[in-house]
């Protein structure tokens, strides 16, 4: 478990130098560089609505090491954005962190007051929001929007701030002279780069990107991801990337955390999780993603819909939609079990499991037919649909479920 680094444990009397991290950045006094960069333990964030409480984040734990890129994946309503906002405490007024801890180099941020947290926001952890390109103030020039937080937070003089702003713009690939432009004069991609520049202004240790490329064209997305990659290498940044787009995580991140209905489903190195997904939800999610590199042109369907988080079901929240559901799933919350670098919360992997799933395809489960693009059989109306239901693989050899190949592109007349 994570131990608390107490300042008092250092020898008293002698002048203690400020702690520094692996990059040589000065850290807050109480920081312990020996601790993980970020350790989130059993985080719970709830929303108070009229008459009900939404358990948006309900026991989420993960670590982030220095220089690492973690991708948090999941669909809408799974709690990934709320998790990110909880880290920087930018939640809506009816939300509250109801439990758990967020330790930054051992310092727990949860009990800190809003005032105390300002020290950390933007300077240790910063965030690039979803739709950030529309978060720029339209009546201020770009460069002024960057110098403002620099002067305010780092107490730089205007000249120093301008110099740094210029450096930041170049760092993200915006020509310096474009700093005098107004936001509406810039394209979407440029604005997103500007938001990244602002997030980097105070030289944070962690940058959180909440769907940073979702609204962008695929080519601009590639440029932005390439930029983040370069920044990570050059600056030694740690990244938390939040997105529903698994392919973005595959291309950018070292580790992936899959969330479902406020809880962690699976976590592990990207290569391992994508090649051998353990949790049934991860498997389904992966097979529901169109893959331009694959020969298969089919997609899997996940029947049903996510649960209402005001009244979450007991036990595993994916149970109502899970092809491998067992009686215990609806009653007992599956414990998180680790093996081989991967962490899974699923009864197919009970405590002590070594990664071999212990369960079977539920009897009576109807495997829904996959989407398949039938061929164009020339002039006939209504080409026969080449539908094929996917074989959800037998649990004994659970791999990425390979649906039966439908007829693809046969008659290319």
């Amino acid at each position: 478990m994570i131990g608390r680094a107490s300042a008092g444990s250092k020898a008293s009397g002698a002048k203690v130098p400020a702690p520094v991290d692996a990059r040589g950045r000065t850290l807050p006094k109480q920081a312990d560089p020996a601790q993980p960069l970020l350790a989130v333990d059993d985080l719970r964030t709830y929303f108070d609505l009229e008459g009900a409480t939404v358990h948006a984040v309900d026991g989420v734990s993960f670590n982030l090491q220095q220089g690492e890129a973690l991708g948090i994946a999941g669909e809408s309503g799974c709690g990934k954005t709320t998790t990110a906002l909880s880290l920087v405490r930018l939640l809506p007024s009816n939300a509250r962190i109801a439990g758990g801890s967020i330790r930054y180099f051992g310092i727990d941020l949860v009990p800190k007051s809003a005032e105390a947290l300002r020290r950390y926001r933007w300077r240790e952890i910063s965030i690039v929001f979803q739709g950030a390109m529309n978060a720029l103030n339209p009546v201020h020039r770009l460069r002024d929007q960057i110098t403002e937080p620099l002067m305010e937070r780092l107490n730089l003089s205007e000249a120093q701030a301008r110099k740094r702003a210029g450096e930041l713009l170049e760092l993200v690939g915006i020509p310096r002279k474009r700093g005098s432009a107004y936001p509406h004069e810039l394209s979407g991609g440029m604005r997103q780069r500007a938001m990244i520049a602002m997030a980097l202004a105070c030289d944070p240790a962690i940058v959180i990107g909440d769907e940073p490329t979702t609204a962008l064209d695929v080519m601009i997305q590639a440029q932005i991801l390439e930029l983040l990659e370069r920044l990570r290498r050059e600056l030694g940044l740690s990244l938390i990337l939040i997105t529903h787009d698994l392919s973005v995580i595959a291309e950018t991140c070292d580790r992936i955390l899959v969330m479902y209905a406020g809880r962690v489903a699976e976590e592990g190195p990207v290569g391992e999780v994508f090649r051998r997904p353990r949790h049934p939800y991860t498997q389904k999610l992966l097979s529901a993603f169109p893959n331009i590199q694959a020969d298969r042109r089919t997609l899997d369907v996940i029947p049903g819909s996510p649960p209402d988080l005001r009244h979450p079901p007991p036990g595993c929240r994916f149970a109502p939609r899970c092809p491998f559901v067992m009686p215990v799933c609806s009653e007992v919350i599956p414990p998180e079990v680790s093996f081989g670098g991967v962490r899974v919360a699923c009864h197919l992997y009970p405590s002590g499991s070594d990664g071999t799933p212990a369960g079977m395809l539920a009897p009576g489960y109807e495997a829904p037919a996959a989407v398949a693009a039938p061929t164009v059989a020339g002039p006939t109306v209504g080409a026969p649909a080449g539908f094929a239901a996917p074989t959800v693989g037998t649990p004994a050899a659970v791999t990425h479920p390979a649906p039966v190949e439908p007829p693809t592109g046969g008659s290319l007349a």
Binding site: A56, S76, G77, T82, L85, P92, F129, L309
Partner: protein, 314 residues
């Protein structure tokens, strides 16, 4: 429930779809909404059937008291210079002021909404021209225009003794004049909203299935500006009452159907302020202030409620 709404940050679509009763309930929960509605309710009840409370409107002939009596047990608000009971006058004045205000609002909103929606939806040169006309009426001082128009409309309408909603023709002239001078700000507001509605996908969809302009304006634009119309109408009502008061005060009113403005004018003419007969002008004045205040409170609360940008911090 969509996942987004479950998260507690109500999606903007949810807000647009609430019904009238919900709005009423929410309105009453706000302090300003509650106060405003209560005041309005009191005056509306009085205005609907003043005879039920104070009997017929007293004229010089049927006056029950002596000249300028201060308030007493018999005459709770005293009497005017002809001996008429002030309570009687004031309550009937409520009817006249409010009915004129109501009719004027109907005229204003009718013209304003039609111009606003048509200009906003059709666009192009029609919009350009309608907007220039609107600007003209917006810029000319209401009062000056009213003074100029009143005798003209009077000629057209004639001063027959026919009544509309219990209001004589002379005052209908005022209604028309207020309508003509006030519609332009409503038109501007409605046009703004129409412009943004026009770009929304459901209007495109209506076009794709073959709906014509009239159908779209009636079935898609209008229902989505109703909220705005209501909020605007309430505020317009307040303005109409004030304008009528002013016009009556400068002598364009009808002494046989004394609105509050008319009563104020009569009080001035009788020298009531100099004589210390406060009971003559305070009741009608208080009536105006209360009613206008009430409409403004309700109108502003409605505006808050129906305004989609609630400023939620994210």
């Amino acid at each position: 429930m969509t996942a987004a709404s479950v998260q507690g940050v109500a999606p903007r679509r949810l807000r647009g779809a609430v019904g009238l009763w919900t709005i009423l309930r929410r309105l009453l929960r706000r302090p300003e909404g509650l106060i405003g509605m209560v005041i309005l309710l009191v005056f509306i009840v009085l205005a609907i059937a003043p005879q039920a409370f104070v009997g017929q409107l007293q004229t010089a002939v049927t006056a029950t008291g002596h000249r300028l009596e201060p308030p007493s047990g018999v005459h709770l608000l005293g009497t005017d210079e002809l001996g008429r009971d002030m309570l009687n006058q004031t309550v009937h004045g409520a009817r006249i002021s409010l009915v004129i205000g109501f009719l004027a609002t109907v005229v204003t909103v009718a013209i304003g909404v039609v111009v606003g929606i048509v200009a906003g939806f059709v666009g192009g040169w029609l919009d350009a021209i309608l907007m220039r006309i609107t600007d003209f009426f917006l810029v000319i001082p209401t009062f000056v225009l009213a003074l100029i128009l009143t005798p003209i409309i009077q000629q057209l309408v004639g001063s027959a003794a026919t009544e509309v909603f219990g209001i004589r023709m002379t005052l209908i002239v005022i209604v028309i004049v207020i309508g003509i001078t006030s519609w332009s700000s409503t038109a501007r507001i409605i046009r703004s909203q129409t412009l943004s509605l026009r770009e929304r996908a459901f209007v495109d969809r209506a076009r794709v299935i073959g709906a014509g302009g009239g159908h779209i304006m009636r079935r898609h634009i209008l229902p989505n500006v109703i909220n705005l119309i209501v909020a605007n109408a309430v505020l317009t009502f307040a303005g109409a009452v004030l304008t009528e008061t002013t016009l009556s005060f400068v002598g364009l009113g009808d002494p046989f159907q004394p609105s509050w403005g008319q009563l104020l004018e009569a009080a001035r003419a009788a020298g009531a302020p100099g004589l210390g007969a406060w009971w003559y002008f305070v009741p009608p004045g208080a009536g105006i202030v209360l009613v206008v205040l009430a409409f403004t409170l309700v109108g502003s609360a409605l505006d808050d409620l129906l305004n989609p940008k609630r400023g939620r911090r994210r």
